[in-house]
Amino acid sequence: MSTPARVLAQDRPAALRVLGAIALVGVAATVWLGLFVTPPDQFMGNLVRLLYIHPPMAWVAFLAYGIATLASLLYLWPRTRAEHFDRLAGASAEVGVVFTGLTLVSGSIWGRPTWGAWWVWDPLLTTTALLFVLYLGYLALRRVPGEFHVRARRSAIAALIAFIDVPIVYFSVEWWRSLHQAPTVLNPTTHKTYVHGSMFWTLMLGFVSFTLVYAWLMVHRYRLARLQDLEETEGLEVAIEERRAEGEAG
């Protein structure tokens, strides 16, 4: 059993701070480029500026769910079962839910002037919204107290039940839409055609910096989960003492 001091030392707080700083600078640069440097789009005007953050947010959300599912599978597989996979799944799902929420909000703000509606029943939108509630349920289940491995196993199974649902939801909604009148609004994928030069690099920077934000949040969330588990097993006292020692050291 490792002590809190070892947990904190392994994480290299200095390296973590550097990662956080790079992520922050990246996001700030994306905002600056997106708002002031890049030109307005020929068709969408200033609305295009939302597209420097919206796809990166969606990418991080899907990446986070992918990692949560993979970690759940690795936890369930007897040969690779380890506590850190459960914490990884929990941390990733939590960050994923936050980014799903941001994706839905930013997409909705973009959709209102573009499509004329805050919401359309597009397969991608509907699947994203259902993912949001599916993983809110998963997080709620994770919060139910219990013995570590019992909680971890039921959470991992619940994560897989939820994940298997995603393609079924996507394809059935896609089919449902295709049987109805096709949306007469601008196809959300066509914006890629107009991405050029500074706009392209701003979007790429957006992807990179949001992925760094994800990594930074993940390490922090994972660390917190580990400390929470230690607090349960070794008691609050030890954790506080070691944290204090780390603060004095650096």
Binding site: L130, V133, L134, L136, G137, Y138, A140, L141, V144, G146, V150, R153, R154, I157, A158, L160, I161, A162, I164, D165, I168, V169, F171, S172, V173, W175, W176, L179
Partner: protein
């Protein structure tokens, strides 16, 4: 495994027939839901008739929650759950037994609800074969997911609130596919229902398969 499933399903159904909770509570609940939908959507029969497939399946979804909660409530008293674990029955058999007992009750309920939507909403029950096929396939999927999440939630203090949150988003494709199949059936366009019935069958098969594998560890942990 199948013998165990029959035993467990027989036990659950016998308890339900004797206690009549399903008849006295879940059935009237579903009728109340139908009446409330009628009030919410107004007295225009055309609106109600065109929405009847969706309303029917929402009523079924809500009733499934009650049926699943009931299915695990009977295991919570007198350490019945420990008895089940110690009985030596195959966990996959227990899963299939409990799921089929829930499915059987839901099918009876759906028969009643079908009469309800015909009387209250003026739905034309043409294409009976499609309607029945959608009920059977959809109900198997609902019962499988419900039984699986039921065992996850049972034994937890927050089970009443947790189960709907876990269950409802996952069965969204069942609601969609079953509603479209029923729409096609009620409109007399049975040919349009085939693809949706496939979705229901795939969903049911997938979650029954997951249930038979995952139920054992979940029952053990609870």
């Amino acid at each position: 495994m199948l013998r165990d499933a029959v035993l467990v399903a027989g036990k659950d159904l016998r308890i339900e027939i004797r206690s009549r909770v399903g008849l006295n509570q879940i059935g009237p609940f579903a009728i109340a839901v139908l009446l409330l939908f009628g009030l919410a959507l107004g007295p225009d029969r055309r609106v109600l008739a065109s929405a009847s497939a969706g309303l029917f399946w929402v009523a079924v979804l809500l009733s499934t929650l009650l049926a699943v909660q009931r299915s695990y409530a009977i295991e919570s008293a007198d350490a019945a759950r420990d008895g089940l674990r110690l009985s030596g029955l195959d966990p996959a058999g227990i899963f299939l037994g409990k799921a089929s007992a829930v499915a059987a009750q839901l099918l009876v309920l759906e028969a009643g609800l079908t009469v309800g939507v015909a009387l209250l909403y003026g739905a034309h029950l043409s294409g009976a074969l499609v309607l029945i096929a959608a009920c059977v396939a959809g109900t198997l999927g609902l019962a499988a997911v419900g039984t699986l999440y039921g065992v996850v939630a049972s034994g937890l203090r927050t089970r009443e609130t947790l189960l709907p949150l876990l269950f409802l988003p996952v069965v969204a494709p069942v609601l969609l596919a079953a509603t479209k199949a029923w729409d096609a059936g009620l409109a007399g366009r049975q040919g349009h229902a085939a693809g949706w019935l496939d979705v229901l069958v795939v969903f049911a098969v997938l979650y029954i398969a997951i249930g038979t594998v995952a139920f054992g560890p979940l029952l053990e942990d609870g």
